[in-house]
């Protein structure tokens, strides 16, 4: 038997066909030494410790989840934890041991996010549709309370009479009144502390700590002032003083309708996620519901988008293609230059080349934005000696500026991968070509470039997909500007699809997560289709090898 748990392939099973020669004595000795050196026991302890930590975290998470009633997530955590233990304590499952961590993180950071985005795309989640119906109702009821004008502040004591909470009120005349949710205020004999009634026979007065402990009951406590409901009710927000409120909305739980008591308008739940009156007026907040394909229909039929959508789409493709091409060719050119053995101090130049890659793109985009300012920017003031070139404010110049900045940001990456790929091309092929009398350009075009593309093409496709959604550069450099003041939405001439979607879904104070998710799914489909087609075509390159 093997001596470590991980080692599932024993000599017996591996050599089961009998074709492999039996290990010699020396081989067995060597195996023994290797075994001891691998520190089976130490590894085992380490493994147990690691698993112990994982289990401890899982148990802790389970405990928290169960106490807060998140049963589904608790079940998932439990199943995953058991699966992990089973896999790592098993003597087999070698592939699973390697794959499990990756799969867990994949599920957590990719699959979950994608599934959730997909789910949100089918809901009306956004401003005004933020929570559950229950929350919307309680929030509407709370905000419909209006303090009766010029009504006094009533000092109160919260009293508990046989489990029912009531308010012991001192009215402005100094008389003590008591009432509960059902029982309107009535006079009562009470003990006074100074001017304030603080206790009553048959009830216990709540201390402040007790008031806090029963917050829920106290926020529900509304003592009618009289038998006439129109006079309103006393409520205490802090347990020591009460105010007289009337409610302008009334909720009928059975019929599921809200009624505005001042105008008599009835708002009912018509399945749109908000109480709506007959003439279409909505009471907000509403609540979240699933709306099927509504968001997708809206995304493609929105009349505000028709006009800008065409040029934004064209520009998005142009931006992505030109960015990939320009960064690739500049990176390739520099890689070839710095790959030349005759160049001195290549190492230092290479470091300098990679610098733009090392600076966060947020930061460099902002710095570029400052340098490209028309009246005060470094480029116009210093390099062009006070010229006023509208780098970021003219529609065409802004597009060129964005491409320049993205070239600056992107070429080091291409430089790095091209340099790696170039070094992997065998020298003998080039030498053979030279011997056959090929010129350098022919060697590059017919030999180096095709071989390079075999390894680099998939990265170019990935780079296209990245630039297609390059939100950072646009948002930080121009924020889509200069604005197209003829467009009905605040879209600009350098907006990509993704930044336009951001503006449409998150303009002003409205946040439309449902619509934004629908758009991102549509953009995902576009990018995925392009990537699939491109990958199919690059397969033909692989036949070169």
């Amino acid at each position: 038997m093997s001596t470590t748990i991980d080692d599932e392939v024993t000599p017996e099973t591996a050599g089961g066909t009998g074709q492999r020669p039996k290990p010699t004595k020396r081989q067995r000795q060597a195996a023994g030494i290797a075994d001891a050196a691998s520190g089976g026991v130490k590894v085992l302890i380490l493994k147990l410790l690691a698993l112990g930590i994982v289990d401890a975290v899982a148990l802790y998470a389970l405990f928290i989840l169960v106490t807060s009633g998140e049963w589904l997530i608790a079940a998932i955590v439990a199943i995953v934890a058991i699966a992990v233990n089973w896999i790592y304590f098993s003597r087999r499952k070698l592939p699973a041991k390697y794959l499990t961590p990756g799969i867990i993180f994949l599920a957590l950071f990719q699959v979950f996010v994608l599934v959730y985005t997909g789910y949100v795309a089918f809901t009306n989640y956004g401003t005004g549709h933020n929570g559950s119906k229950e929350q919307a109702v309680s929030s509407l009821m709370a905000s419909s309370l209006q303090r009766v004008e010029d009504s006094p502040t009533y000092p109160v004591t919260v009293v508990d009479q046989f489990g029912t909470l009531g308010l012991l009120v001192t009215d402005p005349d100094g008389d003590a009144l008591i009432g509960t949710n059902e029982q309107p205020l009535q006079e009562v004999d009470a003990e006074f502390d100074g001017d304030k009634a603080v206790g009553v026979g048959g009830g216990t007065s709540l201390s402040f700590a007790e008031v806090l402990a029963r917050t829920d009951e106290i926020t529900e406590l509304a003592v009618p002032v009289s038998d006439d409901p129109n006079e309103g009710a006393l409520r205490t927000p802090d347990g020591s003083s009460a105010y007289q409120y009337v409610s302008t909305l009334e909720y009928d739980d059975a019929a599921g309708t809200m009624t505005d008591v001042t105008t008599g308008t009835v708002y009912s739940d018509i399945g749109t996620g908000a109480f709506t009156s007959d003439d279409g007026e909505e009471l907000l907040p509403g609540w979240q519901i699933t709306v099927g394909f509504d968001n997708f229909v809206r995304a493609v039929t929105d009349p505000r988008l028709l006009q800008p959508l065409v040029y934004v789409t064209l520009w998005t493709f142009a931006f992505a293609l030109i960015s990939v091409a320009s960064t690739f060719f500049l990176g390739l050119f520099l890689a070839i230059v710095f790959n030349d053995m005759r160049m001195r101090g290549r190492r230092y130049y290479r470091v300098a080349m990679i610098l733009p890659y090392a600076i966060p793109s947020f930061l460099s985009a902002l710095i570029w934005a400052g340098m490209m300012n028309e009246s005060f920017g470094f480029i116009n003031q210093v390099i062009f000696g006070g010229a006023s070139i509208p780098w970021l404010t003219d529609p065409w110049m802004a597009k060129i500026s964005v491409l320049i900045v993205n070239l600056w940001l992107g070429f080091p990456y291409m430089f790095l991968i091209c340099m790696g790929a170039l070094q992997s091309i065998p020298d003998d092929i080039q030498e053979a070509a030279k011997v056959d009398g090929a010129k350098p350009w022919a060697i590059f075009r017919l030999i180096k470039l095709p071989l390079l593309l075999v390894t680099v093409a998939p990265l170019l496709i990935a780079s296209f997909a990245f630039n297609f959604n390059n939100f950072n550069v646009i948002y930080m450099l121009t924020d889509g500007g200069p604005r197209d003041s003829n467009a009905p939405i605040p879209v600009g001439f350098t907006d990509l699809l993704i930044t336009m979607v951001y503006k449409v879904a998150f303009t002003g104070q409205s946040r439309d997560y449902g619509l934004a998710s629908a758009y991102s799914i549509i953009i995902f489909i576009v990018v995925a289709v392009i990537a699939i087609i491109a990958f199919r075509r690059t397969k033909s390159l692989e036949e070169l090898n």
Binding site: N130, S138, L140
Partner: protein
Amino acid sequence: MRVNRKSLLAAGAVAVIATLGLASCSAGDSGSDGEASSSGTLTVWVDAERVDALKGAAEAYTEKTGVKVELVGKDNADIKDDFIQQVPTGKGPDITMGAHDWLGELSTNGVVAPLELGDSAADYLPVAIDASTYEGTVYMLPYAVENIAVLRNADLVPEAATSFDDMIAKGQAAGLTQPFVVEQGAEGNPYHLYPFQTAFGAPVFGTNDEGYDPTDLQLGNAGGEQFAQWLSTQGKNGTGVFNTDIDGDIAKQSFLDGTAAFWLTGPWNVGAAIDGGINVAIDTVPSPTADAASPFAGVKGFFVSSESENKVAANDFLVNYLGTEDVQLELFEAGNVLPALSAAAETASEDPIIEGFAAVGAEAVPMPAIPAMGSVWQYWGIAQADIINGADPIATWQKLTADVQAAIG
């Protein structure tokens, strides 16, 4: 033999795991104690710069009532969206710090609970209470009132300007080519131009008894068009006083370098000016007309979550502890913004800078918090920027009004 040793080890490991598990359980227990008596903890989201200012009040409250106050420092830019997203899940805080212009959005999303200031409402500056009220209900405990004013370099121009033209004339007499700077940008900055617009009698919305009325758009009235024309004469094709290339940093630099003597900005920039060795005086905004130029007032305050399970404690803490002069002054020290409580505002106004801002603030109007304002911001700045850069003022202003009206619906 080895197998035996391993099983021993395995047994030991099981013991280790069990201990760890138990330890985590017990840790969980103590954690859940906190959860169970959660009526004893108030979670407050605070702008990270102001956590220290609230520590004293939080400790005093804990001492007095036994309620723990947990101050969570957050990045100001994230608070609003995080609050809106987390309150419905029940994971949000009990109280959050915020600004009054969030109110429309918070209320539309149903995440704030009304707040009863009771009789103490009279102790605050009127503009603070107006701003804290949305559709007739108070939702916010105000702690600071912020507005812009003109910072004057008193070494260059010793006397305050009486009107907009006087300001430019005084600056030019001091030998400056661009005597007045105000933060703009490619997309304009209507917040900073609003005082001039109000001087022409063109507020954004009319008001009714519940506050700003979204159905009464005043932006495009005759005064608005006069303002547009005036703006156009001060832009690229006119005097060049307004320039969309001047952003916040450039404006600041020219004031610090002494190439501009007047800077229309907020109290957040005063520190930099004083540190830069400028002899700063605060003036009201010089008006281009006979009427006062009123800037927007932004009021900062605290909101109670609609899903808070500790509303009583939250209310009590806000109204009776954060609404005191001491705490309001502490917050003032942290941010140098005029306190919303009248008594604290008076104390703070002993500082001539604060007094200057307070004098301008007396003319200020609360920035509208209604959701319709979002549609205004979208089109407002770009239209002003276009006018500054030479677009036809009347046509551009009319298009702005039409776009805003269409967006409000």
